[in-house]
């Protein structure tokens, strides 16, 4: 009896899915009218946490101002406080000293006007993609039909309309990230905070998603703060790149990217600019590696391995 019931459910599940994917998605509508960006500023913000080893300074006197509608990339090695800045703006953590300003006021707690896209997408595994996108709207007490209309719109915006009834584990990494972006956009935030959202994706998928983020940003003019450790990604996307240094995390340098959009990672001008910035941060990265590796660190240029094929068998 139970195997029969199971078979029935499976059959129904499969046929439902077959029906959904055979229906053509409605034509993509233009991007819905939305709240445009708000300005964000950090004024001498420091953050220390107390661990068993004592107080650790995570961010020292960071000052940063992001104009409304600007696309800013925070670029730096791990440990430079990039994600910390995002958390501070999101209201997920509070600064030890200094002020975090947002629009006309200060940041005191998290809110749906500042949405975050996490590196691991953080979609809820027990909800379908559609339910995930509608979740923040549910928290805002939107009526069911308005939620449905909004999620429909967003699913088309990120080209996932066909996959709306799938659970997150049934989606690819790139699709999950697009779903997370749609969920972040659901409440029409003024600021979109992206924490290395594409770091775990293959380069082709990353390129496509970068294009989508650029397109969505151009259309909605939201303020985007995008954290990455990928120099080319920062140059490809940002109006401005903020270079961060480590130990403690701090703002080192800012660079404007004055290239026409839409850009491509393979553009020669993007590559040239990226090379310059990469050189700048190389010394910072080396500092970290030296600290983490202790004595085992070999500075670049100290060793010349040559062609490994020629070394085969040598020294046996």
């Amino acid at each position: 009896m139970f195997t029969f019931a199971k078979a029935w459910v499976e059959e129904r599940g499969v046929s439902l899915r077959a029906v959904t994917s055979s229906i053509r998605p409605p034509p993509p509508s233009s991007i819905p009218p939305s709240r445009s960006g708000a300005s964000v500023a950090l004024e001498d913000v420091s953050l220390s946490v107390t661990t068993e080893a004592g107080a650790v300074e995570i961010l020292r006197e960071a000052t940063l101002s992001v104009a409304a509608g600007e696309f800013v990339c925070l670029l730096g090695p791990s440990g430079s406080g990039k994600s910390t800045i995002l958390n501070l703006i999101a209201g997920l953590s509070r600064p030890t000293s200094g002020r975090v300003r947002y629009g006309d006021g200060g940041v005191t707690r998290p809110g749906p006007d500042r949405a975050v896209v996490f590196q691991d997408a953080a979609l809820f595994p027990w909800l379908t993609l559609r339910a995930n996108i509608e979740f923040p709207l549910k928290l805002q007490h939107w009526p069911a039909d308005a939620r449905r209309a909004r999620s429909e719109e967003l699913l088309r915006l990120v080209h996932l309309w066909r996959f709306q009834e799938r659970f997150p584990h049934e989606l690819s990494g790139g699709m999950r990230q697009r779903g997370a972006i749609a969920r972040a956009l659901a409440t029409d935030p003024a600021v979109l905070l992206m924490d290395e959202p594409f770091a775990a994706l293959d380069s082709q998928t990353r390129e496509i998603l970068q294009g989508e983020v650029e397109r969505i940003w151009s259309a909605t003019r939201k303020t985007v703060i995008f954290v990455t450790h990928n120099v080319r990604e920062a140059v490809r996307l940002g109006d401005r790149i903020v270079l961060m240094g480590t130990r403690p995390g701090r703002v080192l340098h800012e660079e404007f990217v004055d290239l026409p959009r839409p850009r491509s990672s393979n553009d020669a001008r993007v590559a040239t600019l990226a090379t310059g910035i990469a050189r700048r941060i190389a010394s910072e990265v080396e500092k970290v590696a030296r600290e983490e590796a202790d004595d085992a660190w070999v500075a670049p240029g100290d060793h010349r391995p040559g062609d490994p094929r020629r070394q085969l068998g040598r020294g046996i």
């Binding site: 139970f2 199971k6 999101a90 209201g91 997920l92 707690r109 998290p110 809110g111 749906p112 500042r114 949405a115 975050v116 996490f118 590196q119 691991d120 953080a122 809820f124 595994p125 027990w126 979740f135 923040p136 928290l139 805002q140 659970f167 584990h169 049934e170 409440t187």
Partner: protein
């Protein structure tokens, strides 16, 4: 013995099991949640819960009888104590291991406090809580059998005791078979549905 004794005993046992297990869930899940989330609760109850959960719950029967006499209350205390503690321990563990990014994502959408707990943390911890609920169920059944064996109370345990008094091994084995069937049936009726839903949503391979 096929005069309705067995069905009646079975009905009594199942009713006790459902009541006791229900109470155990109502205590165990909130207790485990607060252990995972409140430093105060952890410090106050953490060691006690872990310590007590290693005490076989039947050890409470003498105390329960002193307090409540040979009553339903006494036997329910044993069932509840037997089931609630493993449920609490499993709940604590699974709530603590919910991916931080899941909760942070929910907080950025404006969820906090009880709403965050009910709509995000507990659903995210559900696979682990279900594991605890299953263990709790078997613990409840065991505690109940032991309790029923030890004092006259109707139920399957008493039927076992009768079988012993009469030297009727067929009766004893028959009751054991009924208990096995009860365990298996509850698995099918109660848990397999959740198991399948979780497997489908979380993407666990079904055997």
């Amino acid at each position: 013995m096929r005069d309705g004794t067995l069905p009646r005993a079975l009905a009594i046992t199942v009713a006790r099991l459902i009541v006791g297990y229900g109470i155990a869930l109502l205590i165990g899940v909130p207790l485990g949640t607060s252990l995972a989330r409140s430093r105060l609760a952890k410090q106050a109850f953490g060691p006690i819960v872990l310590g007590l959960s290693s005490v076989p719950s039947i050890c409470w029967l003498p105390l329960a009888i002193v307090w409540f006499g040979l009553s339903e209350l006494a036997i329910q205390l044993v069932v509840v104590l037997g089931a609630a503690l493993p449920i609490a321990v499993a709940t604590e563990n699974s709530v603590r291991h919910v991916a931080p990014s899941i909760e942070r994502a929910a907080r950025t959408m404006g969820a906090d406090g009880a709403r965050l707990m009910l709509t995000v943390t507990l659903p995210a911890a559900l696979p682990g809580i279900l594991g605890g609920a299953k263990i709790g169920w078997t613990f409840a059944l065991r505690s109940l059998m032991a309790g029923e064996l030890l004092f006259v109370s109707g139920g399957l345990g008493q039927l076992l005791e009768t079988g012993r008094d009469l030297g009727d091994t067929a009766l004893v084995l028959g009751v054991v078979v009924v208990i096995v069937a009860l365990g298996r049936l509850s698995e099918v009726l109660l848990f397999s549905r959740f198991d399948r839903a979780i497997a489908r949503r979380w993407g666990v391979e079904e055997l």
